[in-house]
Symmetry: C2
Subunit: 399 residues, 2 copies
């Protein structure tokens, strides 16, 4: 966050910054959604909806789960929230008492720890790595679950690693949570942004799983602040009571246009395809520059890279690259403490031209900077400006 | 809330219900705001704003405080939130540790107690009455303030009583909070909806007061979910950190159109004037029906009435009136425990025609119902359908 602020300061001072630190789609709201908003402004009202959401949107989402995952989810279980931030804020307020805990993967989305702390509960960070696709595993749950543990969190695809959990591992996680008498919470905000295989909904494996999703990423609708939370029947009333208090309701216009967004499949596929192209460019270029990718990401718009060949201080690398060549990436410390200073996150929620320019600048930086050890970069390993076309492999430790 | 649900059930079953229970303006979003939304959809973006808000809206609000109250409030102190619900959720998360407390007036807005409980802190409900215009007083604060107390809450005009605090009493409250080393929190959401005199901003009395306001009531923009929180400089950073986590940001389009809303003074004045007309109808009719109004409300769109002449069970009265004659009003128990079962709240956020019809139905109910003592209602005290034109006074205890 501080790095983002510094990036904006530099921009305000006239520097052109390449933003590969931002977790927000660079695409505008789909045109059909904008059209639906115009129509609603002319014809609809903007009063409060029911606290749990516009029933038409709940019904549309219920139908969408059938179509997308073959799941039959009652509309009343789909609670409409002001973004997934609102969903987690709500969920933890309902689920957690002081002293209770939630198991989280480290690295993981940093706000999770803060949400849980705000509910007076404890976030138990469990180191995860490539062996479990950077997700919690059933054996980790067995090891860390206590009588105070209420839930375990899956972020699938993962932020920051972009990795998908395997089907059998997801099934085992769900079984383990059920056996422990707790909940599997599945953050599915990056569903629909996958490359190669589709992400599975946790509800396919566990009818009592708690699912969080929203329109911000797949539909590129961040500023509309609209998400949803799927809970088991038993939690609906408690959620409704908290929603009446802490939100009153999600924004009315946003909820209305969400119904149209669910139809915008051509537009979401075009965005997915663009991300895939950018991802391929970076997956090719980064290892050549010295950034090692332990596990190929299959979703989201992130690449989590090990920088051990370049530096032993990922934080310093990020800050120095920003100052020296105007490329912003996110240091691992933003996602936890597990090998944080050996990792950085690249986001490709920015245009292909900027990604090419970013790669060029990073190459320049690594050649010139005194702050890093450029021994892994050879002059001829990257010889032209079109990094995407360069498929030469740089093996670990090559001079 | 349950009563509102029942009212909606009856409506769904074909009954025509008169809604005098709802705390939401019945007016549509001002036309100039709708126009600004169309323009933004065509020209602007819908990405996240900074967590603390769209800087243009913050600046516009800063200018508005100068114009409205003669106050010079730095724009960075004005934090944009998803409604005032979001503002309180944020504020208490920042301000309160478990075990700490906030002093609240009883009767008062019920969500306050829940917000404070969600922060793990304690809501201390202090009975208030006409002697202090239904507001906390400095002497109440002196009596109830402990070393765990962090703040005292003013809702001015009050919900549910519509009463304004006197200037000297507000000054004394502010002084008392400062002396105790705590904060005066002023909920000013009904500012601009006053009849006779203008509400004063707490910041006119205390530069460190915390002010909450928003576009939902005066601007009739509930479904846009847009409010603000003004904090002292010392709290800005802590608030920003919590905002980044629990909201990310308020809705982008709503924030943008808020700037236009601040210019819609003719439209807000037209609504205020309509509320005043409705208020005058009810203030005239209710005492004749047996509803006593201890203190003339000067703001909001509420009348808080004592039903002791009619029943000793306000709750039963509300439910019975709903079932029998389809008039929904709110029982006192929704606002606390202080003489709750002797009071009800009438909202006049509904059209004049419905208000006249509601009064007629209540009159019918009180004449016919076995559940109440209609001894205060004479056949000739209300003789025509135009209650507004009937200025006869019914004194307390008159047969």
């Amino acid at each position: 966050m501080q790095l983002l602020e510094r990036a904006k300061e530099l921009e305000a001072a006239g520097r052109q910054i390449i933003h590969m630190e931002i977790g927000e789609p660079d695409f505008p709201t789909p045109a059909t959604v904008i059209q639906a908003a115009h129509e609603h402004l002319d014809q609809g009202d903007n009063f409060y909806t029911p606290s749990t959401g516009n029933p038409q949107l709940q019904a549309a989402l219920s139908a969408w789960y059938q179509q997308e995952y073959g799941l039959n989810i009652a509309a009343r279980r789909i609670l409409i929230t002001p973004g997934t931030s609102g969903a987690f804020n709500l969920l933890y307020a309902v689920l957690l008492e002081p002293g209770e805990s939630v198991l989280l993967p480290d690295p993981g989305y940093p706000c999770q720890r803060n949400f849980i702390r705000l509910a007076g509960a404890e976030a138990i960070n469990i180191p995860v790595g490539p062996a479990s696709n950077y997700h919690l595993s059933a054996s980790m749950l067995q090891q860390h679950w206590t009588d105070k543990t209420r839930a375990a969190l899956l972020i699938n695809p993962s932020n920051p690693t972009g990795t998908l959990i395997n089907d059998d591992a997801l099934g085992a996680l769900a079984t383990c949570c059920r056996k422990q008498g707790g909940y599997l919470i599945s953050d599915e905000i990056y569903h629909g942004l996958t490359y190669g295989r589709k992400a599975r909904c946790a509800l396919e494996f566990d009818a009592d799983a708690i699912v969080v999703n929203g329109f911000s990423k797949r539909w590129a609708m961040t500023g509309w602040r609209i998400g949803w939370l799927i809970v088991p029947e038993a939690l609906i009333d408690a959620c409704r009571r908290v929603m009446q208090n802490i939100f009153i309701a999600a924004p009315t216009l946003s909820q209305h246009v969400g119904i149209s967004a669910l139809q915008a499949t051509a537009q979401t596929e075009a965005m997915r395809s663009a991300y895939e192209q950018r991802r391929n460019v970076l997956l090719n270029a980064l290892p050549q520059l010295g950034f090692d990718i332990a596990m190929q990401p299959q979703g989201a718009f992130y690449i989590y890279a090990n920088v051990s060949r370049i530096t032993d201080d990922a934080r310093a690398l990020c800050w120095d690259m920003l100052e020296q060549v105007g490329v912003a990436i996110t240091p691992g410390e933003d996602f936890g403490t597990n090998q944080a200073n050996q990792h950085v996150r690249f986001s490709y929620a920015t245009g292909l031209q900027d990604i090419h320019e970013g790669v060029r600048r990073i190459e320049t930086y690594l050649r010139q900077s005194n702050a890093v050890r450029p021994n892994n970069i050879t002059n001829d390993s990257i010889t032209n400006n079109n990094i995407a076309a360069n498929h030469a492999e740089v093996s670990n430790g090559k001079p």
